[in-house]
Each structure stands twice: as C-alpha cells, then as structure tokens.
C-alpha cells in the first residue's frame, strides 16, 4: 500500500572494484561464480579491492576542482554525480538548490611521504614536537587540509554538482552510513524534505585507512577468502575495498509528479548501539531484525558483513537462525567500504527489487540460492567494531 510520503529510491550511484553505475554492478553481480577484483601485492600482507579505472572528468568537469580533492573526496563526488544523473537531477537548478544532503564521511588522507619523512627523522631526534613544527610548516601542501577534511566531501558535492538545499556530514564508520540513511528517510517521511542525496565513499588504498582498522588487528592477512570463511584465518577477518554509494531518496509524490523511474521503496530503517563489551551484540541484532518487521516468506538479505570475526559470526548466526533468509555477503566481491557500506547494501537491495531477481550466491560454500522474485530485500550493516543498522527495501 503506497502513500504519498513514502520514501522511494530514484537514483543510484555506485563505484567499486567491479566498476561503476547500477547497470555495471547488476550485470557483474548477476553472474554466477563472479570472481573478485583483488590487489594482493601493493599492501601485502593485506589484500584490498582496488578502485576501477575512473575517468574523473565524466563527473567532475573542472580539473581545478579535481586538484582540490584527494582521491576519497573525488570518489565520493563522482559517485554522487552518478546518482544525481541517474535520478535526472543533475543540472536541474531548481531540484539541486532545494535538494538536501547527508554524507557519511571519514577523511584523513594524509600526505604519506611527508609523514614517512617525519617518522624517519624522529628516530634520531628527541625534540619531536619541534621536528613536527619544522616539517609540517614547510612541507604540508596548504590545500591538503581541505582536500582530506570530512565535511569537504559534501562541500565538493555542493561546488561540483550544485546541491545546496542543506549539507550535513555524519561521521562514525558504518554507523554514519546507517544514520545518514535513517535520518534522510525520517526527514522525507515527516515532510521536512522532498528529495535528499545520501551516501558515502571509502578509499582504502592509503596506509592510514588500513591503519584505522589494524590498530585493533581487524584486517585479514594471507590468502583471500570469502567474507563468511575467514574465521580462524590469519588476522582479523576484514578485507577492505575502495568504493562509494550514493542514493537519491525522494518523497513518492515528488518522484511521481516529475515522472521519474522508481527503483524501490525504502521501508523501515533501524539502528542500534550494542554495548558489545557487555555481550549485547547478539541480542541487538535479534532486536533489530524484529524491529524491521520482516515480511513472511523467504527473504533475500544484502549483508554488509565486514569479515571482522566477532561481528560477522554474530550476524551470520542471526541470519542463519532464520531459515527464510538467504544472505549475500557482498564484501566478498567489493571489500568492506566502511562509511559507504550501508548505502551500498541498500543500493544493491534496491537493484534486486527493481530487476525482479535475486543475486546468485557470492559464496557457494556458505550461501544458499534464492529462487523467485524478491519483493522485499533486507540490507544490513553490523559494524566491524561498533554500531548496527538494517533496512527493508520493497518493490516500488
């Protein structure tokens, strides 16, 4: 039963190691037995899913703008442009200037060469604070600060794509992506907004991005394995990937009045914060599944599981406990994209609903097939370290 204030998805912008755009992703992911694109050498002993070849000019016309961004911001701005194009909003002044935006952001793409030189010098200096002043004042590029700053992904989307209704940046790993989608949906449902750009990006091919996981030993080492099969392997189980996912969420009435194609309806978005040190994660996942009010019958689930041992085994146990659920751990094929993970899960769920077909198994050893047309698809992101979220995506 549709209502004018339903939240519908009218634009999808995706980039991952598999390629760019919803069509390319669907075509690849619909192939049984698709092999992931891996980069095992550059960051050994860690494997990453690298960015595909991207012609930045296609979404960021001015070279000057491209130069003002490090790769993460470029990637996000690019993926946002894909979503705006897909929704028929790009270049439409009226729609762009009234469009709201919530970006799930990380940041911190530092200058690795400058940092390495400072660290090397620190071995022979005791006055490290002075060393820092000396090097940073002379060697930092003045523009780097903004080119890696969290809220400047949104800032660049405003500059490049002219989205200026409002601009908010949420931070906090997968939870930021969950909160961004949840807040955007709530604003549309309550009539606070008619159309919102929401999403995030993650550029893992930078040592500080790997360090952000590895300071707690979360990264998988050694030969690559599918996301569900990393328990007991060397390392922490997480294989990261570069990518981005942006969605255009729109009030149904707004989308239909401008005659747009609707991929899917975004149903309940639920989120939580288990106090994992107190052992609350299993109960929290169960509570979210209950709160999402899963429909009767078999259900496809696009799981954002990262591979991190504790979180992934808890999620797997919860999904396995419901025989109606066929889960797809898409990080097997894309790697874990942190802030972009949940928007990516929602996007893949919307694609399946739109194409009226389930994805084949991504891991034949642990996933089970799904026959028939998925009317509703579950999207999940159980954070590798903290925060949890889920959404139901329904046929339009």
């Amino acid at each position: 039963m549709s209502s004018p204030r339903d939240v519908v998805i009218t634009g999808i912008g995706l980039v991952s190691s598999l390629g760019e755009g919803p069509d390319a992703h669907w075509q690849k992911l619909a192939q049984p037995g698709l092999q992931p694109v891996l980069e095992p050498a550059r960051f050994a002993p860690y494997t990453v899913h690298p960015l595909p070849e991207i012609d930045w000019n296609l979404q960021i016309a001015k070279r000057g703008d491209q130069r003002q961004m490090e790769t993460w911001q470029r990637l996000g701005t690019y993926a946002a442009g894909l979503a705006l194009d897909d929704a028929g909003i790009k270049g439409n002044d009226e729609l762009c200037t009234t469009m709201d935006m919530v970006v799930a952001a990380g940041g911190g793409e530092r200058d690795e060469a400058v940092d390495a030189a400072i660290l090397a010098a620190s071995e022979s200096r005791n006055d490290r604070d002075v060393l820092l002043n000396e090097k940073l004042t002379t060697e930092l590029r003045p523009t780097l600060f903004l080119a890696q700053l969290s809220n400047l992904l949104a800032g660049n989307i405003s500059i490049v794509h002219k989205v200026t209704g409002s601009s908010r940046t949420f931070m906090g790993e997968e939870g930021a992506g969950v909160a961004a989608v949840e807040t955007a949906a709530a604003r549309i449902r309550s009539g606070q907004s008619t159309h919102i750009l929401v999403g995030g990006a993650f550029q893992t091919e930078h040592s500080d991005m790997l360090l952000g996981y590895e300071l707690a030993g979360y990264l998988h080492r050694g030969p690559w394995k599918p996301v569900w099969q990393r328990q007991g392997a060397e390392g922490g189980g997480l294989v990261s990937g570069s990518g981005g996912a942006f969605l255009v969420l729109e009030q149904r009435e707004h989308a239909t009045s401008r005659g747009r194609k609707i991929y899917a309806e975004l149903g309940p978005v639920v989120s939580g914060r288990a106090r994992r040190s107190r052992g609350e994660l299993d109960a929290e996942i169960a509570a979210l599944l209950k709160q999402a009010a899963l429909p009767n019958g078999k259900l496809l689930a696009m799981s954002g599981a990262s591979g991190a041992h504790t979180a992934t085994s808890a999620e797997k146990a919860a999904l396995d406990a419901n025989p109606a659920i066929s889960a797809r751990g898409f990080a097997t094929l894309t790697g874990h994209m942190k802030e972009a993970q949940f928007p990516f899960a929602v996007a893949l769920a919307a694609l399946a609903v739109d194409r009226k077909a389930a994805y084949p198994v991504f891991d034949a050893a642990t996933e089970k097939s799904f026959e028939g047309v998925p009317q509703t698809v579950l999207a999940t992101a159980i954070g590798y370290h903290q925060f949890e979220g889920m959404a139901l995506v329904n046929a339009a």
């Binding site: 660290l119 400047l152 405003s158 209704g165 931070m171 606070q192 707690a216 903290q386």
Partner: protein, 423 residues
C-alpha cells in the same frame, strides 16, 4: 496552559539544561562572569613548542585532566563536562538520559605522539609498513579508539545512557549548531521527547594550528594575546584557534512542563543553506548566508523585526566579518545599524566544532540574564562595517529573541533562532 505546538503545528522545543566549557573556565557561572566583564581567554600556547609557528596564541582549554592527552581524550572530556552540567541542570537522570545523542566533534586522526611512539617502538623496515606491523601487535584498544570517528559519541552514550545509535557530525564551524538542529528536528518529528546535543572541540594540536595557518586563517597578533581576536575591527587579521564545548538538553515543551522542569529558553527555529561557490570563501553576494538566516526566521515563524539581538559568527577574519555584515544588512535592512550584534569569539576565540553549541548556550544566557556580552577589542572599527557590536562593555537589555549564526568551510551555513519564552 501554554501553547505546546508552534506555528507549523510541531512540538515546541524547550531547553532545560545548559552546559559550557571554554578557555574562560568550566561551567556557566565562571564563563558568564568572565564574558560579561569583557575578559579574554586567549593566551600564549604552552601545550607544545611554538618554534617555527607564525601563530603562538590560542584559546586552548589547558586546565582539564586530558588537556595534554591528545584531541580525542580532550574532546571527550570537554563534551562530558558540558553535558554533565546540562543534564544535571535539567534534573534528568545523568546515567539514564533516555533520548538520542547528537555530537558535533572534530574529525579524528592518529595523534602524532602515538604515531611517534608506535613507530619508535620498533626498528625494522620503515614508514607505513612499520606502523602497520606494530599496530597489529597492539594488545590495547586505547590508540585504536582515538582513530574511530564514532568512539567519542559511543563513550558519551555509555556515560549518559542516551538512547540508540548516537550521531557524530561535522559541518565544520557550523557543527555545534547542526547538532542542536538535529535534536530539534528529532523532537519535532516525534521520535523522542528529549535529546542531548553537544558541540565539543579539543583538537587544537600543532598540526591543526599549522593547517589553518597555511590557509592564512589565523591571527598572528601574538604580542598581546587577549587583543588578537577583534571581530568587525579594521585591523582584524584572522581568527584565534580555540577549544571548548557546549551542551543543551532539548525537550518538547510538553514533556518539560509535564515533569515540572524549568524551561530555560526555546529553540524556535533552525535554518541552513549550502554555498556552492568555493571551499573557503562565500559567494560574493552573500546569498547562501542570507538564505540561511531567512530560513531560520521562517522556521521560527518570526519576522526580521522580531529579532532583538544577533549572536554573530564574528570570527575576526577579514572575509567572514565582511560577509556576515553584508548578509545581516540584507536581511535586516536599515534596522541593522541599531540592533545589538556581538561576537563571543572576541573573548573565547573560535571553538570550531563546538562554536555553534557554545554560542547557543551564551545566547540563551543573554536572554535569561538580560545582559548582552560585548565584542571586545573593538578599538578600531571597520568603517565598511557599521554595526552596533556592543563594543567593549556589556549592555543591560531585555532580549526576548536571538539569532545565532554559524558559517563554516565547505559552504556550511546554519542559523538558530532562540526565544526566552514560548510563543
């Protein structure tokens, strides 16, 4: 019986608790006494050596336990201290708050002291490879936590018993105002009866200072630190980097009255508009800031004539103060010359992610105390900016409504309208 719904039929949002920390001190009482006596918290930097630095002054908070322990721990302590004051004042349970948390805080990065200590704990290979190898051998999560963008909010959620997934946000120098806006919106949507909105920033590291210096954003008037921040003055030459925190307990007026809470003020309206002109400069016609002010007024259901006082963004940079004057004179017309408009930053510097929340706290106190804090260091007015900046000395005045501006890098413009009384 008070009206519980606003002009658009939404729940009216009351403030029932206020907390603040700045370089002037901990808590409302100390801050207000200093602020209204025109005292500056700007002082020479002692936290790290200032060799090679062009700017050697700041408004750092140097008197907390975590002041020398890095941005993450200090930001947490600032947030916790302000929130504790706010929640205590509200009379709500300080370990079972029962509403959502919205935290404006700076982006996190691995602290240089940790980077140095990890690196020098080993001597095989070099650069990032060594750091990663050392990292995976760590037995404690302390350093890891400082690099996770959601960790400060996670700890605060534990500490105060807030409900659900906490939201950490950044809209640069508008962040504190955005945290309040998110709380207001959640209450208006009926998702909750109360919300805890905090802006906190303890990120004044050497690298942060250098980054802003390289953008030519900071004052270099090092010789007399307390005179360096001089919003709207002709010789203003940049902002003064500072730390602080502000926290508000927001509650639907209905819920606040039902439990007999003291209502400290009303959050009447929020407005925002992004700028697509440039990463650090505003559109020359000021249209985004103008639109943000107008959106806040419209959201509050007030006309231009109904704003008694403006708590300016007033950073003391040549660009901001000029653009803020242009925007305000466009919105308020001729009246702008006779409206009091002051900048707290003249005394506390620019607390970045915290600024919007700190200044909302001071705006509410301005109304409650009927005293407008001055813009200090206004010795050399900019002839191009004709404003009543409440120069140098506080002013006693009945203030029923306040507009508080926050503008940030990345085209962020957020404005709040607060009122002393419900409609």
């Amino acid at each position: 019986m008070a009206n519980l719904r606003d002009h658009m039929g939404r729940p009216i949002v009351a403030v029932t608790g206020i907390g603040v920390v700045t370089s002037l001190g901990v808590g409302k009482a100390d801050n207000w006494a200093a602020l209204t006596s025109g005292k500056s918290g700007i002082h020479p930097i002692t936290r790290f050596p200032v060799d090679h630095l062009n700017t050697r002054i700041s408004g750092m908070v140097d008197f907390l336990d975590s002041s020398s322990k890095g941005a993450s721990l200090l930001t947490y302590e600032l947030a916790e201290t302000a929130a504790n004051e706010a929640v205590a004042e509200s009379g709500l349970d300080s370990s079972d708050f029962g509403g959502p948390l919205f935290l404006a805080s700076p982006p996190v990065e691995l602290d240089w002291h940790d980077r140095f200590s990890l690196y020098n704990s080993d001597n095989k290979d070099a650069g990032a490879e060594r750091l990663l190898r050392v990292a995976r051998g760590l037995k404690e999560l302390d350093i890891f936590e400082t690099t996770q963008f959601g960790s400060i909010a996670d700890r605060l959620a534990d500490r105060f018993g807030t409900r659900g997934l906490p939201i950490t946000l950044s809209t640069a120098c508008a962040s504190g105002a955005t945290a309040i806006q998110l709380g207001v919106e959640a209450i208006r949507r009926g998702e909750c009866d109360r919300a805890l909105s905090i802006g906190a920033d303890g990120s004044a590291t050497a690298e942060a200072l250098i980054r802003f210096s390289l953008l030519s954003a900071l004052s270099t008037h090092n010789d007399i630190p307390e005179k360096a921040s001089k919003p709207f003055s002709k010789d203003r030459d940049g902002f003064v980097l500072a730390e602080g925190s502000g926290a508000l307990v927001l509650e639907s007026l209905e819920a606040a009255l039902a439990r007999g809470a003291s209502v400290l003020g009303i959050l009447r309206g929020c407005g925002e508009k992004a700028d697509d002109f440039h990463r650090t400069r505003s559109k020359p016609d000021g249209s985004p800031a103008i639109a943000a002010v107008r959106a806040a007024l419209a959201d509050a259901g007030l006309s231009e004539d109904e704003i008694d006082y403006v708590n300016a963004h007033g950073t003391s940079t040549p660009e901001n103060d000029k653009m803020e004057h242009l925007s305000l004179s466009t919105v308020f017309g001729e009246r702008i010359g006779s409206m009091p408009i002051s900048s707290n930053k003249s005394m506390i510097g620019h607390t970045l992610s915290a600024a919007g929340a700190v200044e909302a706290a001071f705006s509410l106190m301005t109304m409650r105390e009927s005293v407008i804090p001055p813009t200090i260091n206004y010795d050399n007015p900019d002839p191009a900016i004709v404003l009543d900046v409440v120069p140098n000395k506080k002013r006693n005045a009945e203030v029923g409504t306040v507009l508080s501006n926050s503008f940030g890098f990345g085209g962020q413009n957020t404005c709040l309208v607060m009122a002393r009384e419900p409609v």
